[in-house]
């Protein structure tokens, strides 16, 4: 039996196009190999065997006697001698002008933003303080808190961060204090440890190797009663001492190994009685490791106090005061090259003081359009300092170049800038804003390399006699005001002219008018 399978054709399609084929073509691999060429003697005529010395010598001698040879070689020789002598006469590859690096003075000062480190939280807090990692400045610690009076703190994240400057996407380490940090500082002796002052007045101590929680925390009873605005590490044998300042009027000294109680206490009472009621609120501190017994405090009331830690009685601890600011002194920094001079920033101007002259500052900037929030000297150029303002502008001042205006103004962001820190190389500056972003700026080499005459010129300026300095500055301000006054005078004369011309026009019009009214009356 045969089984027949019926095969039904179901789908059948046909195309009306030329048959083509689709395929991939790959070119043949062409293998290349680089190799040197072996040079062996070649070109010898058939009858001469290169290895036979006799034959080669005979061949050579034959060639030498050839006429062509005798003619051409001297000619070639002449050309050659000419070139050889050329070479001997002048070295064409000699460096004639060694590159002198004075192009900096020609190029205008500039800055560029390298990175912006934003607060990762939803509710942005202000960057109130920044601190550079002491070893090379590759990390930046930022203290984040909200300084507005009595904002609700429960919704506000309390963390502060340490950033690696190469990675702005995520902070390298989160620091979790009990209360938001207002100030933070790396230990210059031990880059793994940091100390921070909180909004609640306590001091916390971290070790980055031990995680986000503070290793030590000061007790509430013995800490400040107001936010700690500034904390600085001290130069000591153990490397564990720091001191902090707050608007509660006290300066406290701590040993970070035992933060339960401060080691020393100073009340900033200008009456020198230790009366806390009359104490001035401190908002910044200045300490120079080369002068370990002296320190300075900037207060809310606009007064800068110079203090001596080693004085016998508390009354003698407050050595002298420098008055001149109309508002809180937000920044206080000694010039790293001329420690007798220090810079203060407060209200709308920055002032430079000399320690010996107590009546007034020796130099001050013009009043700016907005409030100054921080200032610091450049660690590499003695005449350059940076200021941060409430309009989000960072100014670079070079007092040897221009006293009345900043050498460079950089608009960093639209929010107020709150703090500023220069890295030790002098090129990078980190500034923190109210919106929680810390911006890293790099300055051009003209502003960050020491120029030859800087120190001598600045020494001349800073060592000037007191009266001369004050009168010079007065004159300088007068001249600049005078220029403004001149403009004002011009404006005034122009206004007067305008006024008189308008008055005259009106009078003329009035003279013409009676004729018109008479004319109207006539019509009636």
């Amino acid at each position: 039996m045969l089984a027949v399978h019926k095969q039904s054709t179901r789908g059948c399609c046909s195309t009306l196009s030329t048959m083509g084929s689709h395929g991939l073509v790959n070119t043949e691999r062409f293998e290349t190999e680089s190799s040197g060429v072996n040079h062996t003697e070649g070109g010898w005529p058939k009858d001469v065997d290169p290895n036979e010395m006799e034959q080669t010598i005979r061949f050579r001698k034959k060639v030498e006697k050839d006429e062509g040879f005798m003619n051409s070689i001297p000619q070639l020789g002449n050309i050659m001698v000419h070139c050889i002598q050329q070479n001997n006469a002048l070295d064409i590859y000699q460096e004639y002008c060694t590159e002198e690096d004075d192009g900096d003075s020609a190029e205008p000062p500039s800055a560029k933003t390298i990175n912006v480190f934003r607060d990762p939280n939803e509710v942005k807090r202000t960057v109130t303080c920044l601190s550079w990692h002491p070893d090379g400045g590759k990390k930046l610690a930022g203290a984040y808190s909200s300084l507005h009076f009595q904002t609700s703190h429960t919704s506000l994240c309390q963390d502060s961060y340490i950033w690696d400057i190469e990675n702005p996407n995520r902070p390298e380490l989160t620091l979790k204090p009990v209360s938001p940090l207002v100030c933070i500082e790396y230990n210059p002796k031990d880059p793994h440890t940091l100390v921070g002052g909180t909004y609640s007045g306590q001091i916390a101590y971290w070790d980055t190797r031990r995680g986000s929680q503070p290793v030590e925390l000061s007790s509430v009873e013995h800490s400040h009663r107001d936010p700690v605005y500034k904390i600085i590490w001290l130069q000591s044998k153990t490397g564990t001492d720091a001191f902090s300042a707050s608007t509660d009027g006290q300066v406290l000294w701590w040993d970070v190994r035992k933060l339960s109680e401060p080691t020393e206490r100073l009340v900033l009472d200008p009456g020198r009685e230790g009366n806390l009621e009359r104490a001035l609120g401190a908002i910044c501190l200045e300490y120079e490791p080369t002068m370990p017994t002296k320190f300075m405090v900037g207060t809310e009331q606009g007064v800068v106090l110079s203090c001596n830690r080693k004085a016998k009685t508390p009354a003698e601890k407050l050595v002298c005061t420098y008055e001149g600011h109309h508002g809180p002194v937000h920044a206080l920094h000694r010039n790293p090259f001329f420690p007798k001079n220090f810079l203060t920033a407060g209200d709308w101007a920055a002032r430079i003081w000399s320690e010996d002259i107590r009546d007034s500052a020796i130099m001050w900037t013009r009043y700016q359009m907005s409030y100054l929030t921080d200032a610091c000297w450049s660690p590499v150029r003695p005449s350059v300092f940076f200021t941060a303002k409430m309009d989000g502008v960072l100014d670079v001042w070079d007092i040897l170049f221009k006293q009345n205006d900043p050498t460079l103004s950089v608009k960093v962001c639209d929010e107020p800038l709150y703090c500023l820190r220069v890295q030790d190389s002098g090129r990078l500056v980190a500034c923190g804003s109210q919106g929680g972003s810390a911006t890293l700026l790099e300055f051009c080499s003209g502003l960050s390399t020491l120029q030859k005459n800087d120190k001598t010129l600045l020494a001349a300026v800073s060592s000037a006699d007191r009266k001369d300095v004050l009168s010079f500055n007065f004159y300088l301000n007068l001249v600049s005001d005078g220029l403004d006054a001149y403009n004002v005078q011009q404006l005034m004369t122009r206004a007067e002219d305008d006024f008189y011309s308008v008055v005259e026009a009106e009078l003329r019009r009035r003279d013409e008018q009676p004729q018109v009214t008479e004319h109207i009356k006539g019509l009636e």
Partner: protein, 87 residues
Amino acid sequence: MIQSQKGVQGVVIANSEGIPIKSTLDNSSTVQYAGLIHQLLLKARSTVRDIDPQNDLTFLRVRSKKNEIMIAPDKDYFLIVIQNPSD
């Protein structure tokens, strides 16, 4: 004659086939210079001729870190001088 000039390290005379005729250097260096420079000379000459057929190579200087190799070509022979300039 050429050898007495300042800085001259060696002189090689070779024919148009690259066979060294006369030399002040040792045998192996002579052979090397003659062979290699012959090739370079042919290439340089053809380059000049290709760019402009009316032109011809008159002189070739190869400046290296250590010295300078100067080649004066001719119809049948070429002269190679190795000089150390800027003593």
